[in-house]
Symmetry: D2
Subunit: 322 residues, 4 copies
């Protein structure tokens, strides 16, 4: 339930204001010399973001590596790591202890578990995505050696400067492209490459939509427009167009994998809102302005990280057949 | 790889022109008297569809129940079932044996497995979704007893009549609503209710997009517009609006679960198309007009079936906690 | 719950007097030309056994292949197969409908599921092991190409001729040896080669004990006696003795894998026995003499089959690392 | 691969001389107030043992709780914990860096991963069982509330005092009894209660044999002797004898679950032994006497812990059916 992947697996743990956030990577190949600088760089992409959109919370994000390494080289055994939560001033949240913030997970967590860690979002906090960045950076390193690269970009974002002034937040859309994936990855029935990507992306907070290739737009085309003509390009069979986004019948065709992820606005807004408390009484809240105005700048590295993890995992599932 | 679900699980098997198509349901509760009439009705929803959009292939779809039942009552053991493929005239496909149909899975299957069943799409045929309808009908029966209902409808479809004349096909968008799901279902991190739904829907052929609640549109709103205000309605805490589509932080909040699925046009078109064959030579094909003009009328029951299976599965995962 | 294996997986279905017994193999490599004669030979090993020990039930065991094959070659997709239950004279069992046979699964199934298929043991019948033989035969074919062979033999069996006269049954011990397994298979912590073998063998009816290498006897030795000295034999590092049974730290060391399985006597005996019925009333039963006197002759092929499946599965798990 | 359990799951990490040893428990019910004193007591059972058999290594075993708790109460989210390795004097092991200790995992790990952490056994060290004790203590707490208790005892152990003098080690046999388990737990085919126990016990270092009820001895009995007569005891159906060890057809029958585990002697002996090094050259080693003479005193709590985890897990799998 807190694990993603079939062969290359990540289990995450941690609440935003608990002792630590971390993860255990199981199934990473042995004899890989980890590029710690790259991991730090990826972590800083999650942390630092444009002034206009990001909150000021200082997160040193200093990784402690707990296992699975000898002199920085992977042993093939589980790689455990964690980051301590240092800036844990839970008193900020005391006022919200009994209040259900609109479109947050406060209410649903209580319905599920009977209680929740009310300090800063607990397990539902965006901070819990940190281990994804670490595992994603390692996955990227594995892919790099195979000539596979991944890049996400924001293709739409609401007017953040204006929203900030209004005490509001904005959403947006991220597009991601994976280049160099060989044809043949993905399981045809219930483990389609597209289905695994969809599942991974919907694991991120605030994601409300996912599409591959032409996506929702393809619903409005005809077959003769949507089909990708196969061509022989210097001895390699590929497609002239890429409406399919690199995936056909759930399996990669060797072309770029292209997908988009829609993020709703962050629900923590400074504007006063009506809600109810645990007793069912109507009340007003205004959430402290420390929160981001938009999740997208931070989300790019997360989208890439999950895409990398899915690609490594699907690659391993295909390799084991030979 | 051919199994969906964690507790209520379906494993499917079969190629479109092999001996049989079928499935094994593992994890179905015992002592359930199956409603075979309802299962047949659901199967006929997959088979029969509007004249304008559906092909004429006769599929008797006569289920043979192989195990797991005593006098029509579930034993708690695996329920295996199958439908024989009777209309298997593979000679129709002989001409396509060495040709990669555009935007079909012919090429990717060969890349993955080194060979493929070229007769009518083989394992990638839409016919292989039949077991999903059977498992979905049983899941719906389980949900009905708990007051949970599921209904999908086509909210957009291209102009099928016109496309048929042109030897072309069209896509569309299905919206599905699950009513009566209690709050608290879904795992917060990598098994969000939305993520499981996304994964399930992307298992269907031709699906290119999935969204929950306001979905891609929510990317263009502000937090103050996208948030759902909690209210106390006669002692029940619920939300005034349902932009979230019934899922917050990955967990159901008790409101209707609403999602949409985008289908690209069926890639089998009568219009001549350019492609390449296995030898890499450019060639022309025109696919026989027996195929559907649009997948959507048949897809409604599939979307509902998978939604039912996910809901039963997530419900069981939550129940086992108590 | 009815599936074994992680990559090379078998899901089984069927009750002894239901419509059919069968299985779905998922994860079998593509492009394997199945040796149907060998599969039949293995099935006949399960069926035919020494006159003294086996019952007379005619089981034609005619396999129907349902999917996953094209001209007898595996497609990489699920291989489904079944055998119809033809000799299903359930009236023999009517008298036992409400009685719990001693040391059978009648009582425990009812406790678990609230009902059971009382006709001949239902899902708990030894007949349900048939699909294991089929999957095992395919696994053996895969191993044969890699130079790995498996052979089980009965190393102890009670006096069957005498027991038969007395209307009684006997147990025994099977020893199995896997030759040619490369060093390095097995997961070190919770997927040890020995643990996977133990799990598999305990899936067989009537198994009450399992040991690897010197097993229980090793508990009575000293370290200096139990340790296997490493030697360099013509450039290959191996061990002088094989007290470990080919597995050290859960991982194969290249030596023969040797294990033993203890079977209790079959619980169906002709001698009169006291028991209780569903109403809790004490009663006497004498079970019809058609049953085997000893499970072991039939069990040899099952032990080998499961050993083959575990070895293929562990091999694939190791391969995917490279 | 480093995870055990289906619903109540433990993932472990850590090498004996790495930074830390720890685990992540996923699937623990929420709202459980952890009994930390009990957990410490269980940990001390693993650490302290009879002078004659245990080594002197100081292991403070001070648990750091990283997540999943609020004021000592479980949140339903992953419970991560760790113990730092403080006594990590790896220089002791430098001499063994290139030598394969007989019947240790040195050789097999290198064959599997291409490298190994040579400092004190690394991932194969008995120290890595520590997280099992923690998860087992929590499982026991869950079971205690349901009236289920577990107790293991040494029923055979070699002459440790004598072996110590000789620089040798001894093995032994542990018997464990689980009282109060309701009838109906266990999956009938590939998740039998006995199979899950066998798998769990073979996860412990040095285990070479496992048996349930009469085990290997039952192979030498007749059916009339091995069968357990059902009786009605004050309205409860139970068995007069317990040759089955509480499990019939893989499912619990309500009687005590009784099983035995055989441990070979610890392979680290002070007596000089011949072996080979990485270069394949024959050499002599004598392993430092700090190691235990017998694993059994420490193993009792491990056997109980795994039995508790399996019981909780199987109980949850059964509960979710209702």
């Amino acid at each position: 339930m807190n694990t993603i992947g079939h062969i290359f697996k990540l289990t995450t743990f941690g609440e935003s204001h608990g002792t630590a956030i971390g993860g255990v990577i199981d199934g990473c190949p042995s004899q890989l010399k980890l590029d710690f600088d790259f991991i730090d760089k990826e972590l800083s992409r999650r942390k630092t973001a444009q002034t206009a959109t990001a909150s000021q919370r200082k997160e040193p994000d200093k990784i402690e590596w707990l296992s699975g390494l000898l002199d920085g080289v992977t042993l093939g055994t589980p790689i455990a790591f964690m980051v301590r939560n240092e800036d844990a001033n839970s008193s900020d949240y005391e006022a919200l202890k009994d209040v259900y913030r609109p479109s947050h997970a406060d209410f649903t967590y209580e319905q599920k578990y009977g209680l929740r860690d009310w300090r800063g979002g607990g397990r539902a906090s965006a901070r819990t995505t940190l281990p994804i960045v670490v595992a994603g950076a390692i996955a990227k390193q594995i892919l790099k050696d195979k000539g596979i690269t991944i890049a996400a970009e924001v293709i739409f974002m609401g007017d953040a400067e204006q929203a900030k002034k209004e005490g509001d937040t904005v959403g947006g859309i991220v597009e991601c492209r994976i280049k160099g994936v060989p044809a043949g990855l993905g399981e045809p029935m219930f483990g389609k490459f597209s289905a695994e990507l969809a599942h991974a992306m919907f694991s991120l907070p605030a994601v409300k939509g996912f599409e591959v290739g032409d996506g929702f737009a393809s619903a409005k085309t005809k077959g003769s427009e949507a089909n990708d003509t196969f061509i022989n390009k210097d001895g390699i069979i590929t497609t002239l167009t890429n409406h399919s986004g690199g995936i056909q019948g759930g399996i990669t065709n060797g072309n770029d994998i292209v997908f988009r992820v829609a993020f709703k606005p962050i629900p923590s807004i400074a504007k006063p809102q009506q809600t109810v408390n645990r007793a069912g009484e109507t009340c007003q809240i205004a959430i402290d302005g420390r929160h981001d105005v938009c999740a997208l700048p931070r989300a790019l590295v997360l989208v890439e990280a999950l895409a990398a993890m899915v690609t490594v995992d699907m690659g391993m599932r295909q390799d084991m057949r030979h």
